[in-house]
Amino acid sequence: MGGESSEPPTWRRRLRRELTGLLALKVTALALLWWLFFSPPHRITVDDEAASRRFGVAPPRLQHQEDNRGSELLTRGGRSASGASQ
């Protein structure tokens, strides 16, 4: 073991080496996990519109969409404004 000598203890060097190796392994594993499961292509966005689709109800109608729809109705004479609410 050599624990009685005055040189820096070997356990400290070994600990440092092991910690560095383990941390590198951990960072690599985390990066791999992120890339495989959590990177942007794998993300699922759930907002109130998506929730509306899941629950089979109409998507939310926003105030500005209603305003646009109103102005379109005025300008087009009520011909077609279905796209405004999409």
Binding site: F37, V46, D48, A51, R54, V57
Partner: protein
């Protein structure tokens, strides 16, 4: 329509990871408190043997703690990956408790676990005892916040549904915090964890005594485990009774399924000690009952009936019809948020919206449901009766067995007859896996008994799942099986190696000077 395979796989994955994680949680809870007891004796008496005991059991605690952390994190990820709609629908409430668990409890626990292991030679006795106490407090606080979240899934209070945002929103944090179900679950679960820790210490110590090794440590450890375990095993039964009463108030279908009570009995209902539930015929064969007992447990009265499954299905049918009204009003509100008649109609039926949503399993628009589909949805509110019936009985039977085990150990320890009682030592050693079985069965009764709901009466489980490809869930589920199997092998290997070495064979880091001889 929602892919039923994805829902089933996502549920299987969550159940697998939760059951696996729950192998480590109770032992962490139990051992942390036993460490506090042992170290307190060391601080009060100054006897070195109690320090060695604390360090030895602390080493086993450390292995278990690391496994608990590793397996717990994956569960929180799953709320985002596999249960995205659940997270959207109830994240405002459920996310709060998860965040608090991480911030308040987990950081506290993890920080002081480090100090526990590396602070022996750096802190005073009292300071180190405080550290150990904070580790135990952190473990319990972790359990508290998770169980507050879980209790909200069983009995959702302090939140309301916002039809514009299509999700539940927190209205009263204090109601969520002081949810009576959370309080009952917390004390019951923590006490069960203490029983797990006590049986672990009892069984390992019994093994030492059988082999004639580490006798001083083993005798003292058994005495601590026996007295602490006896108090906790008695508490588990009493506190479990309180959980039963609350379930009788708030989750009547769960109680009826646990009892396989198909028809409402004349009060006070009897407790079914044994029976063979027949799901096809809606009857339980070969019933052996204890008169009055169920009525007293579930209602605390002798004249209040405990409704049976058939009656509760009829009630569910009514609530589904009311839920259809809520759903139709919600559709109108999504189109015309200012519609006052729709607002009034929604307010009148809002409490049953979840029941209306059950129909989405059978058709895309619940407002168009046929009588047959309503009937199907009503029967879908019945959880798996035989599984709940048997899991509950085995769990309760084990609970009473632990009382007998600890009482015997306490008696023998008090009369200084532990070491010569080899038959008892074998019984204690062979009891090692039993508390885990009881804890897992408890989880199954609580969570499987909640089905078909993710949030009781509010959100059906199938609506909470993420729309991911089934192949992805197969991949992650297979990965968990392989990875967790490997972790289990490592965990058992490390624990067995530490136990075989015993308190005398442990190497501490950094290596120390030769230890002083054992002193009383």
């Amino acid at each position: 329509m929602i892919d039923a395979t994805v829902v089933t796989l996502s549920r299987a994955q969550f159940a697998l990871t939760a059951l696996y994680h729950f192998l480590f949680v109770p032992l962490t809870l139990g051992l942390s408190m036993i460490l506090v007891i042992m170290e307190s004796v060391y601080v009060m008496t100054g006897r070195e043997i109690w320090k060695r005991m604390t360090r030895f059991w602390g080493m086993l605690f450390g292995i278990n703690f690391a496994m608990g952390v590793a397996t717990g994190i994956t569960m929180e990820f799953q709320f985002g990956t596999n249960w995205a709609y659940f997270s959207h629908y109830v994240g405002d409430v459920f996310g709060t408790t998860l965040a608090l668990e991480g911030l308040v409890a987990f950081f506290l626990e993890s920080t002081f676990v480090g100090l526990f292991f590396f602070g022996w030679e750096r802190l005073s006795r009292v300071a180190h005892l405080v550290v150990t106490g904070l580790v135990a407090l952190g473990s319990s606080l972790s359990a508290l916040w998770i169980l507050i979240g879980n209790a909200w899934m069983q009995y959702p209070v302090g939140a309301h549904f916002n039809p514009r945002a299509m999700r539940m929103e927190l209205t009263s944090f204090s109601e969520v915090l002081l949810n009576p179900v959370a309080q009952a679950k917390f004390v019951h679960t923590v006490a069960a964890g203490y029983v797990v820790g006590s049986v672990f210490v009892l069984a390992v110590s019994a093994w030492y005594l059988l082999r004639g090794r580490n006798v001083d440590v083993a005798r003292r450890s058994m005495a601590v485990a026996a007295s602490f375990g006896l108090a906790c095993a008695l508490s588990v039964v009493v506190l479990g009774d309180e959980s039963g009463y609350l379930a009788g108030e708030n989750q009547k279908m769960k109680i009826a399924a646990i009892e396989a009570e198909w028809h409402t009995e004349k009060p006070p209902a009897g407790f079914t000690l044994f029976g063979l539930p027949d799901v096809q015929e809606h009857v339980t064969h070969a019933v052996v009952k204890v008169p009055w007992m169920l009525g007293l447990i579930a209602t605390r009265s002798i004249d209040t009936p405990v409704p049976g499954i058939i009656e509760l299905v009829a009630r569910a049918r009514q609530r589904i019809r009311s839920g259809i009204e809520a759903y139709a009003a919600l559709q109108t509100l999504r189109e015309r948020p200012a519609d006052e008649s729709a607002q009034a109609r929604f307010a009148a039926h809002q409490a049953d919206l979840g029941y209306g949503l059950l129909l989405l399993r059978y058709l895309p628009n619940p407002a168009m449901a046929t009588a047959r589909q309503i009937e199907q949805a009503a029967w879908s509110t019945v959880p798996n009766v035989p599984v709940l019936f048997w899991c509950f009985r085995v769990m309760v039977g084990l609970g009473f067995y632990f009382i007998a085990l600890f009482a015997s150990a306490f008696y023998l320890a008090a009369r200084h007859r532990l070491a010569p009682s080899r038959a008892f030592l074998w019984v204690a050693f062979l009891s090692l896996p039993l508390p885990w079985i009881a804890a897992e069965l408890g989880w199954i009764v609580a969570e499987y008994g909640r089905q078909p709901w993710a949030i009781d009466g509010v959100l059906p489980t199938f609506l909470g799942a993420s729309p991911v490809p089934a192949a992805n869930v197969w991949l992650s589920l297979s990965g968990f099986v392989v990875f967790y199997s490997a972790l289990a092998v490592v965990d058992v290997y490390l624990l067995v190696r530490m136990i075989r070495r015993g308190p005398e064979g442990l190497g501490y880091w950094p290596p120390q000077e030769p230890r002083p001889a054992a002193s009383e």
